[in-house]
């Protein structure tokens, strides 16, 4: 799948040839730094950019056999929030400040399910209880600003899960939260994933959260997938120099603090500056002339391991 932004003259290929799959009961992590296209990927799956004119997609998104890119836009409403649900980083801006929490959970239920308001209210209370909110009856009557950050994220999860989706897309769900609350929220997502047997796409910049939670990992850099593997392979045998750098540059409890931290040199170039060659070449410590001239393909190196690099780092 590719997504292109902008009017004809200055097109930006925000994501370029991204292909992956998610199974039921599986959590797939998409990691990368700002601007790598991880959020664009998820929002393209949901076709959230459709109403903006200057966007065009190519490729396919198959959901339970159906190509989401071809179905009429109106039909998407039946899938969004119902069979594929999404939670975002900032729960406060996803919730409507002038309606009570209860109102918003009930609304989500009523849109997709054929139930009476009263029944929906009851379901909403159950849902809040399920996501670990104490005194759900009281919380239903409160407004978003009266809840803490962790509590608001729980409400978002309740709204996302009230229709029992087959796929949950979590876009940086814990980035704005403290580590203690982050552990609680991730634990909740894990538990619900297992109970409902749904697939989860976890989008994050935090490698440690990926290590704790995901089954498979996709590493993205400037709109492209640079590596895909199982979570143990990514951390134990990373092949792409960017993945290696990402893992090494994060200090650990056991890192020798007398030694300098590993650094990826330079900073992210602009997408428009790259005309040819590997997109990571300008920051890669191993780049050769071939890397600067010729764009590498995503190649399979093992059963579940692919990498986009001319010289993968075997044995490091």
């Amino acid at each position: 799948m590719s997504t292109v932004f902008g009017p004809k003259k200055e097109k930006i290929r925000a994501i370029d040839g991204v292909s992956f799959y998610v199974c039921r009961g599986e959590m797939v992590g998409i990691v990368g730094e700002s601007g790598c296209g991880k959020s664009v990927t998820s929002q393209s799956i949901m076709r959230l950019y459709d109403e903006k004119e200057e966007v065009s997609y190519s490729g396919t998104v198959r959901f339970e056999g159906e190509n989401l890119m071809e179905i009429p836009y109106k039909e998407m409403d039946k899938i969004r929030g119902n069979r594929i649900a999404m939670i975002f980083q900032d729960a406060l801006s996803s919730l409507n400040p002038v309606y009570t929490v209860g109102n918003q959970v009930v609304e989500a239920i009523c849109i997709h399910q054929n139930v009476e308001k009263k029944e929906a209210w009851q379901k909403a209370v159950e849902m809040l209880m399920k996501v670990g909110i104490s005194e759900p009856e009281k919380r239903m009557r409160q407004y978003p600003h009266e809840l803490s950050g962790g509590m608001r994220q729980r409400v978002m999860i309740a709204i996302a899960l009230c229709c029992k989706p087959d796929l949950l897309i979590a876009d940086e769900p814990t980035t704005a939260l403290d580590v203690t609350v982050q552990a609680q929220i991730m634990d909740l997502i894990q538990q619900l994933k297992e109970e409902e047997n749904m697939g989860v796409i976890l989008i994050t910049h935090d490698m440690a959260v990926v290590a704790e939670n995901c089954d498979r990992v996709i590493v993205m850099y400037l709109g492209q997938m640079v590596e895909e593997a199982s979570v143990t392979d990514i951390f134990e045998h990373p092949l792409h120099p960017y993945t290696v750098g990402l893992i090494q540059s994060i200090p650990q409890m056991t890192t020798d603090s007398e030694q300098e931290l590993f650094m990826i040199k330079g900073s992210l170039p602009l997408l428009t500056q790259i005309k040819k060659g590997c997109r990571f070449a300008s920051r890669c410590p191993y780049a050769t002339d071939k890397c600067r001239e010729e764009e590498p393909e995503l190649q399979k190196t093992g059963e579940n391991h692919s990498v986009r690099c001319h010289f993968p780092r075997f044995g490091e």
Partner: protein, 320 residues
């Protein structure tokens, strides 16, 4: 007695913020920092960790007198600066500086980097050699001289943070507060800034406080770590002692919540239930008792003393 030179010493600092009360109700106060004492020595970096709302940033600002403490004393190089007026403080400001999380909001968008940095020197009364000093400082933080004529919006997050560090260092301070300096940066850039800060702290023998919610980064950069909870210090110790032998139940659960980079050693349990209580109405006795798995009746009524248990390891808990 400690033979090291104490650069900054804060004693029993309190910072209360009044909250606009509803008519007829008693006026409430938020006890953001409640009786915190801390000494930072020459060449030492103290890491300050805790959850949102624990008062770590407020403490960092109060110790610099960027906000007036409600109570307590601050000594800079042995001199009591608590009661000094803004005018009198100006001279002392060059000795103590701060690096913020978001340098973009602390830079004037209409001024070039060079002019912004020169202004810092001019305010302190320096008239000659400003340009040279600016260029020298830019080089120190790893920026080339051509950034002198550029504007803040032309920079990436990492470069902007380098400018923020240059701004703090240009007056040759002896004491530096870093308030979440790498939290807004991407991982690959974060390592660059952490290395830079560490190098500068070493070369200049700076006394500094490093505030962050990322315990791994704090451990890497600090000599000593202080843990705050709801406006109080609950534990402090040399970094490896604190990380590997934490004594306070809060520190233990905070460390247990930090995700592990090894997918084969996953933590499959929630270390700490609930959330931090409101500082407007802090719990009685030990402030942590509402979330503490070991809380007894004594914890609910009696405030625990802050006592030393082991070499340089201080902890505020009845049960240790």
């Amino acid at each position: 007695m400690d033979e090291r030179k104490a650069v900054i010493k804060a004693e029993h600092i309190k910072k209360y913020f009044p909250v606009k009360g509803v008519v007829g109700k008693k006026k409430a106060v938020v006890k953001a920092v409640d009786d915190v004492s801390l000494t930072v020595y020459e060449g030492e970096t103290v890491g300050l960790v805790g959850e949102t709302g624990c008062g770590k940033s407020t403490f960092g600002r109060t110790i610099l007198k960027l906000t007036e403490p409600t109570d307590g004393k601050i000594y800079l190089d042995g001199e009591d600066i608590t009661g000094y007026s803004e005018r009198k403080l100006r001279k002392y400001r060059q000795k103590m500086q701060i690096v913020f999380q978001d340098p973009y909001s602390s830079l004037d968008p209409r001024e070039t980097i060079g002019k912004s940095l020169e202004e810092v020197l001019q305010i302190q009364g320096r008239k000659q050699g400003c340009r040279e000093k600016v260029l020298e400082t830019l080089e120190l933080v790893g920026l080339s001289s051509e950034v002198y004529d550029r504007y803040p919006h032309e920079f990436s997050g990492g470069q902007r943070q380098r400018v923020g560090i240059a701004r703090a260092l240009i007056l040759n301070p002896v004491f530096l507060v870093c308030d979440e300096p790498v939290s807004a940066l991407d991982v690959s850039v974060q390592a660059q800034i952490v290395n830079l800060l560490k190098k500068i702290q070493r070369e200049r023998k700076l006394a500094s406080i490093f505030i962050s919610h990322d315990i791994n980064v704090v451990r890497y950069i600090s000599d000593r770590i202080v843990v705050m909870y709801l406006g109080h210090i609950v534990e402090e110790a040399p970094k490896d002692e604190l990380i590997h032998h934490p004594k306070h139940p809060y520190t233990k659960s905070l460390l247990a919540s930090v995700p592990n980079m090894n997918p084969r050693e996953r933590k499959r349990h929630v270390a700490l239930e609930g959330e931090i209580p409101s500082p407007m109405d802090p719990p009685s006795g030990c402030v942590f008792h509402t979330r503490c798995p070991y809380a007894t009746d004594k914890c609910r009524t009696e405030v625990p003393e802050y006592k030393e248990s082991g070499d340089g390891h201080w902890v505020r808990c009845h049960e240790v």
